[in-house]
C-alpha cells in the first residue's frame, strides 16, 4: 500500500458534545433547507480534524491538495448531545507520475455505537499546476 514509511497508527479524536449552535451554524453555512432540524447529511465533516492530522503526518503540501471523493455511510443518526469519537486510518497512499493519491477512512462513534463511516480521497499535485477538482 504505502510506498513511504509512515506510522499506520489510527488517529483518534474525541470531540466535544454536539451542540445546537454547531448544527445551526452548519445549516446556515451550507444553506441547508430540508434537513428538518437534524444535522445535515454532511455534518460529520466537522469531525475531519483527524484527516488534516493525517495529511500533516504524510507531509502533504496543502497548496496542491485536491479533495476528489467523499463518501458517508450512515449507520445511526448523530444528534445534539452526542459525544463523537473519530478513528481515522490511512487506507491507501500511492505516488504516480508526480501525483500523490491518499485515501482515508474515519469511523465516527457516539458511545459504543458507530454513527457514520466517512471515506475521503485526495490527489496532491505540484503547486502552481491548477486544474481539476
Amino acid at each position: 500500500m504505502s510506498e513511504k514509511s509512515f506510522s499506520q497508527t489510527p488517529i483518534v479524536y474525541r470531540a466535544e458534545p454536539i451542540t445546537r449552535s454547531q448544527v445551526d451554524r452548519f445549516v446556515q453555512a451550507t444553506g441547508s433547507e430540508f434537513c428538518a432540524g437534524a444535522p445535515p447529511l454532511t455534518f460529520a465533516t466537522i469531525l475531519r480534524g483527524t484527516e488534516f492530522k493525517w495529511l500533516e503526518r504524510l507531509k502533504i503540501d496543502m497548496r496542491g491538495l485536491l479533495h476528489t471523493d467523499q463518501e458517508y455511510e450512515y449507520v445511526a443518526p448523530m444528534k445534539e448531545g452526542d459525544v463523537p469519537t473519530v478513528y481515522s486510518s490511512l487506507v491507501d497512499y500511492k505516488e504516480r507520475r508526480g501525483l500523490v493519491f491518499v485515501s482515508l477512512e474515519s469511523e465516527v462513534r457516539c458511545g459504543e455505537q458507530v454513527a457514520v463511516i466517512a471515506r475521503s480521497a485526495f490527489v496532491v499535485r505540484s503547486a502552481a499546476e491548477g486544474g481539476a477538482a
Binding site: 451554524r25 454532511t42 496543502m62 491538495l65 476528489t68 503547486a127 481539476a132 477538482a133
Partner: protein
Amino acid sequence: MTWEAGQPLRVLTKPAITKEQLQHYAAASGDNNPIHLDEAFAQEGGFPSVIVHGMISMAFLGDHLQMNFPPSEFKVLKLKARFRKVTFPGDTLSCEGKVKKTDAAGTHFWIALHTRNQRGEITTEGEAEILEL
C-alpha cells in the same frame, strides 16, 4: 409519491456562492484550508482565485436529496460525491438527479445526483442509497 427507476428528481438551484459563505463554511466545518480563504495562497496553487470547498457542493447534493426524499419518510444509507471540476465564488450550482434503480418492493432506491454550474458544466457527481421508512 411513488418513485420509479428513471424518474428525475426535482431540481434545486442554490444562490450564487460568495466568499463570505466560504468563510462561514470554514468556521462551521473547521476546514480552514487557505486555498478556500486566501487569494494569494490559492494563486500560488495555480488557481485564479480561492476555490469553493468541494464539501459545500456535497452539502447541496445532500439537501437536494432530502428535498426530494424528506427525512420523515426516508432514511439515507449512503451518500457519495466525486468532485469533478473546481467551483469558484460567484458560481451558481443547480442540483439534478434521477432514480437509477429500485428494489422489487419499491422501498429501496439508488439515486444518481450531480451539480451543474451556470455554464452547464457538471462539477460534482454523486450517488445515494436510501430506504423508505
